[in-house]
């Protein structure tokens, strides 16, 4: 895939383009040199009057004649006869034209070289990621992901830049240098010889001196890569670092690494400038010789002065190209080394053959048994995790693998799922080794879920359907859009695949589904099977959706509001919700919410926080509320500090503390002194802080007795004043509550409530929740609400879900796929035993009742659950020790019956 050297790699993939650009460069030389000589013609001719000695003298312009063998010329164009002034304008016009032509050439060449470089860069990066996708599993034990990422992202970057210059630069610069040198030779053989010798010395010495720079450069690359690896490791293991109090050890390690990088870079600078000095010295040695030796020769009459001047003139054209040539060579070696470094890292033995990964829309099922034949799994250190095992997993059977952690039961499951490769022996499907079968077959016929439950960032829907995106859809026959066509063309030119990522990759026929709607039903069914329905409800009710995306749902939610209230009233539960009403203070909401009677849309870029504060403060001041709220804030601070100030900082009561954190207490104590007129005068900012405290106050919760009917009435009156005063540019930022309208920035739950749950009743929130779910169910919006739950963004690695939820989703992701074999490797360890048992029985019954019951291999953490299976395989110390039906094993008084008994 990769050639041994970068130059060859570039040549192989861009040969034609390189030759083309070389031809263009050569062509561009013609106008380039013409533009050089034109100024002289203009100055000498029309301006100074050469050839225009008389007032009415004329010259021919644009006469084109080819010299023929012999003295004859072939005149192609007679030219136009022009007088002096016309000639001046004509020649100046040509000059302008040449400038434009040169500029266009330059533009074309640079753009072309850039395109060439970017294509090659894309090709290399793609090929590297392709390699990662084909690494055997064992490779990943030693890989640090940030190092790989930094190689693919940063280290190959200069190769793209080099591509355009790989062949054009040496040709061009070498040509220029040789021309100048030839001219010197033509003037004087000896001076030519001396110049050639000096250039030779430069060519010999400088690259040799730079070799050390290259070594240092490679070291710099390695250390920088290791640094990114270490930084990645710190981020990933931050919990462990804090738990062990090793932050300072990490600091020391980073400092040591940075020190090493500094030393290398410092060394590089020193060398770089030393080399530069010597190079400059060698380059200026030639003029020294021309002046001294050439001058001496001229004085003694051995050299014509005109010749000497010509040589010196010619030499001045030499150092430029020489320097650039040497720089080019330096750059070449640099990227060459980087290239070899990188491909060395990616050259791994036992890579998965690329034809096993060929995208295929359909794949034949695996209807043969899966058999382990003499498999043994041993790591590099010689630790055997599973010793010589023979076993056949029959189609359609449910097998439990049990054994304590490290007994080999997990490795057993991983082998069948190709998560680990056997070090000896093989896993076969019929006659073929599963590692030699196309991944389209094994990867679809065998579904796997492990306890690590790796989720990808994206929505729940993305994660659940991840296992269905196996191959790009067949082209639908429609002509692609011009921009898409260009994308495809470029992908092919860089050796990238032309799959359309944004197409719908899901093969609904293979799932026996009619389309996206039935897929949603299928997903919700599977989620229910893994006991995720309640979680889905919560996720959905806590999601925010915009009315624009779900106009129908939004309308129905608004309609449900009134119904919910009526039903709660009928059940005598009306007190559970305090609804929002424009003319009534909502005691269960904060003072701020009561003031706004609306919500700020999240991520409002339009809104500058300081502008918001200033605007709101002004309004409160105008309404005469500012001082009252400030007083309330002072009262809150006094109360909170009175309650908590004497407690030791780690006291559990602090958990009940709102308004401020324990660390803020001294700040507020100091503020209180100012407000009590004993420690200075409160500033505007101090007052704002106090008003900020008041904003959070909820009377039934905090019970400081700060709200009287008077203040509540004033706050309610403020609402209309505020709503009218919102300037136009802030209007889109604030959503005002309206019983007849959906609030985009509030959660679905809040939208249905249109009020606050009273905190008075201990189980109030639960009662309201079940009333809402019941209502949604009866209104037929339940499924749509759950669909919104599918849009929940699970966060990086699924971290916004709990560990148990992650495992359930990972299990569901496997169950969503139609497979012949399901391998579950302790998939539910984060759940309690009761839930594990519930999910396990549901999953088993779902799979057993399928049209064509698949085989299940389930590694259990609790042997009691093995009773649900057809057969049990018992592992101990890396060996398969017992196999049989649950009843047979229980009666045999073997290891399994011991496990059950204990």
């Amino acid at each position: 895939m990769f050639n041994a050297s970068l130059s060859r790699y570039i040549w192989e993939h861009t040969r034609r383009q390189q030759l083309w650009i070389l031809a263009i460069v050569a062509l561009s030389m013609i106008p380039y040199y013409m533009a050089f000589s034109l100024p002289k013609t203009i100055v000498n001719g029309p301006i100074q009057g050469d050839g225009f000695e008389t007032a009415d003298a004329t010259q021919t312009f644009l006469r084109i004649a080819l010299p023929l063998p012999g003295a004859d010329v072939l005149v192609l164009f007679q030219g136009i006869t022009l007088d002096r002034v016309h000639m001046l304008f004509a020649l100046s016009g040509v000059f302008l034209l040449l400038v434009i032509v040169n500029g266009l050439f330059k533009f074309y060449i640079n753009a072309y070289k850039g395109k060439l470089g970017e294509r090659l860069l894309r090709r290399i990066r793609y090929a590297l990621v392709d390699h990662v996708l084909r690494f055997p599993p064992a490779t990943f034990k030693f890989l640090k992901s940030p190092e790989i990422a930094s190689m693919i992202k940063d280290e190959v970057e200069p190769m793209g830049g080099f591509t355009g210059d790989a062949f054009v630069s040496p040709a061009l610069l070498g040509g220029q240098a040789l021309t100048a040198l030839a001219f010197i030779f033509a003037q004087n053989l000896m001076l030519g010889g001396i110049t050639a010798a000096l250039i030779g010395a430069q060519i010999l010495i400088i690259p040799r001196m730079r070799r050390r720079l290259l070594v240092l450069g490679r070291e710099r690359q390695l250390t920088a890569r290791q640094l990114s690896g270490r930084v990645g490791e710190i981020v990933e293991s931050i919990g462990t670092i804090h738990a062990n109090d090793t932050t300072n050890f990490e600091r020391a390690d980073i400092s040591a690494r940075l020190g090493r990088i500094f030393t290398i870079r410092y060394d590089i600078y020193q060398w770089k400038f030393l080399v530069k000095f010597i190079n400059n010295f060698l380059a200026s040695l030639a003029p020294f010789i021309f002046y001294s030796l050439g001058g001496y020769l001229a004085l003694t009459g051995h050299l014509d002065i005109g010749q000497l001047v010509a040589v010196i003139g010619a030499y001045s054209n030499l150092p430029g190209p020489m320097k650039e040539l040497i720089d080019w060579d330096q750059n070449r070696q640099d990227v060459e080394i980087k290239y070899q470094q990188v491909i060395g890292q990616f050259a791994v033995d036992n890579m998965i053959a690329s034809d096993l990964h060929t995208a295929r829309r359909t794949a034949e099922p695996l209807d043969t048994p899966l058999a382990a034949i003499g498999v043994r799994v041993m790591d590099d250190g010689g630790v055997v995790s599973l010793d010589h095992t023979d076993f056949t997993l029959e189609p359609g059977e449910a097998l439990a693998a049990i054994g304590p952690a490290g007994s080999g039961s997990e490795t057993f499951a991983e082998l069948f799922a190709r998560q680990v490769w056997p070090s000896s022996g093989r896993i076969v499907a019929g006659q073929s080794n599963i590692l030699a079968l196309p991944e389209a077959v094994t990867g679809r016929s065998i579904s796997y879920a492990g306890g690590d439950a790796v989720l990808l960032s994206g929505s729940l829907l993305d994660n659940l359907t991840y296992g269905l995106r196996n191959s790009p859809p067949d082209p639908d026959g429609r002509a692609p859009s011009p921009s898409r066509r260009w994308q495809l063309q470029e992908a092919r030119r860089s050796g990238n695949p032309d799959y359309d990522r944004d197409a719908d990759w899901i093969d609904y026929d293979a799932l026996d589904l009619t389309g996206p709607e039935s897929l949603t039903r299928h997903l919700l069914e599977v989620l229910d099977c893994v006991d995720m329905t309640r979680d889905m409800q919560d996720l959905a009710l806590n999601s925010t959706v915009s009315e624009r995306d779900y106009p129908d749902l939004a309308g129905r939610i608004v309609a449900i509001r009134g119904q919910l209230r009526t039903e709660l009233e009928q059940g005598g539960l009306a007190e559970l919700i305090v609804p929002f009403a424009i003319e009534a203070y909502n005691t269960e909401a904060t003072i701020l919410e009561n003031l706004l009677f609306g919500r700020l849309r999240p991520n409002s870029a339009l809104l500058d926080p300081s502008e918001r504060t200033a605007f709101f403060r002004r309004l409160l001041q105008q309404a005469g509320l500012y001082d009252r709220l400030c007083d309330a804030g002072v009262e809150i601070a006094r109360n909170v500090i009175g309650l908590f100030a004497d407690l030791p900082p780690d006291h559990p009561f602090f958990r009940q503390m709102t308004f401020m954190s324990p660390d803020d207490i001294p700040t507020y104590q100091a503020l209180l002194l100012k407000f009590d007129k004993s420690g200075g005068v409160p500033t505007e900012q101090d007052r704002t802080m106090m008003v900020g405290l008041a904003f959070e106050y909820i009377e039934p919760r905090h019970r400081f007795g700060l709200l009287d009917t008077d203040l509540m009435a004033e706050i309610v009156a403020f609402r209309r004043f505020f709503h009218n005063a919102i300037p136009d540019h802030l209007r889109p930022v604030i959503e005002i509550y309206d019983a007849g309208r959906f609030t985009d920035s509030a959660t679905l739950m809040d939208n249905i409530l249109f009020g606050r749950v009273s905190q008075k009743y201990r189980d109030g929130a639960d009662q309201v929740r079940s009333a809402i779910l019941d209502l949604l169910q009866r209104q037929g919006v339940f499924a749509e609400v759950l669909t919104i739950g599918l849009g929940f963004d699970v966060g990086t690695g699924g971290r916004r879900l709990s560990a148990g939820q992650r495992q359930k989703v990972a299990l569901a992701r496997a169950l969503v796929r139609p497979s012949d074999y399901y391998i579950f490797n302790r998939p539910l360890t984060a759940l309690d035993n009761r839930s594990q048992d519930l999910v396990l029985t549901r999953v088993l019954s779902r799979l057993r009742n399928a049209d064509r019951a698949p085989a299940v291999l389930w590694t259990l953490s609790n042997p009691q659950m093995a009773r649900h299976f057809d057969r049990i395989a018992v592992f101990e110390a890396g060996k398969l020790v017992e196999v049989g039906t649950p009843t047979a094993l229980e009666e045999s008084n073997g290891i399994f019956s011991d496990m059950i008994a204990s």
């Binding site: 309650l643 009561f653 009940q656 019970r703 007795g705 905190q759 009743y761």
Partner: protein, 158 residues
């Protein structure tokens, strides 16, 4: 009802009587205010005990399930504390408490309650006193019952 009123109510509860006002305020603030409609249950016999309750308003029955059915063993009203035994001895609830009128109560979580006991040993002493009183009550009742039972047993023999 505001924090200050709650503090006044707590003061009426024997075991909190001796506590400084500031601490009572803290206790009130860190506890949840809960309300029950008549007929609702504060906690069931057999549940894990996770909190004690101080009745601020209303009345509640203390019921014990016996083989003969539910038996009312006491009625509690304002300023009474219920449910403290279960959180002190880590046993399941020994009785069910059900509101007979609308009840407002202060729910003191087990964690906060235990922390309070550790911070204020005099409270512990007060609790011991209350418990001892209850024990002697119960013993007295039991011996009376026993005597009565013997008496009736004797009667039936003769």
């Amino acid at each position: 009802m505001l924090l200050n009123d709650e503090v006044k109510m707590l003061r009426q509860v024997p075991i909190f009587a001796g506590m400084a006002a500031a601490k009572l305020r803290l206790l009130a603030y860190t506890s949840d205010r809960v309300a029950y409609r008549s007929g609702e249950v504060l906690f069931h016999q057999g549940d894990d005990g996770d909190a004690a309750y101080v009745i601020l308003q209303g009345q509640a029955d203390v019921m014990v399930t016996t083989p003969q059915g539910e038996l009312r063993v006491a009625q509690v009203a304002e300023n009474a504390m219920v449910g403290e035994i279960a959180i002190l001895c880590d046993v399941a609830r020994t009785a069910t408490v059900r509101a007979v009128t609308p009840v407002e109560a202060l729910r003191i979580s087990k964690e906060n309650f235990v922390k309070l006991l550790m911070d204020f040993p005099e409270m512990t002493l007060e609790i011991v006193r209350v418990l001892a009183a209850r024990l002697s009550d119960t013993t007295a009742t039991l011996s009376a019952e026993l005597a009565a039972a013997r008496h009736s047993a004797n009667h039936s023999i003769h």
